[in-house]
Symmetry: C2
């Protein structure tokens, strides 16, 4: 067994021993929100946004993109599980800004089952125009959420 | 401003005030792992697997599926950011088991830009066969990670 696997299983054993009332949580998110953000290791959405188990759907991929799969997840979140507000949180120093689309296309093109990069904007036809969508950038150096407009004004949009 | 948005921003302010050394974390995941799991609100991968900020890539979608977008993210994680072990963690009482593919296809088909459901298996041609992939099921009632083979034997596979 690898060291990391062993550590993960030990940490999980401790977590489950203090599980308590969390075992009674309902399936729909209690705070009726969904968060779309990047897979980046430095981001812990539960911690930086103050979310407890049961509060919110969290969707993550490389770059926090509104990919078809993220949209599929948001549609399920909204239509089947009752979320009513979305947070889209990108971040500073994102790896995706260093890796050009060409580099990534090159990696992906090495297979017949090419996973296409999508460049879909956020107000997708499957997402109702009435749902509030908050756009923030997480500053990995300071831990703050910065509103997208504010970040743009300060020239810090990633 | 909505109540939830206000709460999130307040929680974030507190988090950033105790940010400390986290502002110096490097981009590549320190523990060289990536976790693919469901967006379900009851799951907090950092907590149930003992991960700190900076440790691991976390990829999440509805069902924890190995969708094209999840594969894109894992390829970037492995090839560009050096992860060397993957965890795929599904869970008990998953919403996706109640919503049939037909229901979801119906929802998604209401648009020209249909997001197709994928049924791709895990050993995708873009993922090297040599990388260890650990399959676990998280028990939402007890907080435990159950190995997939063990879960299947106990008739608890979700």
């Amino acid at each position: 067994m690898s060291d990391v696997l062993n550590e993960v299983l030990n940490a999980n054993r401790e977590y489950s021993q203090r599980f308590g009332e969390k075992g009674k949580l309902a399936l729909p998110p209690a705070r009726r929100i969904a968060v779309l953000t990047c897979m980046d290791a430095r981001l812990d959405p539960a911690k930086f946004a103050g979310l407890s188990e049961g509060d919110a759907h969290v969707i993550r991929n490389a770059g926090g993109r509104a990919s078809d799969d993220a949209i599929r997840s948001l549609v399920i979140s909204y239509k089947l599980l009752g979320t009513r507000e979305f947070f889209v949180i990108h971040h500073t120093d994102c790896g995706m800004q260093f890796f050009t689309n060409e580099v990534i296309r090159g990696l992906l093109a090495s297979s017949l089952e090419t996973a296409e990069l999508t460049t879909s904007g956020f107000h997708h036809p499957l997402v109702p125009a009435t749902i509030p969508i908050y756009g923030y950038i997480y500053d990995v150096r300071g831990g703050r959420l910065i509103e997208v407009e504010e970040a743009t004004r300060a020239g810090r949009a990633s």
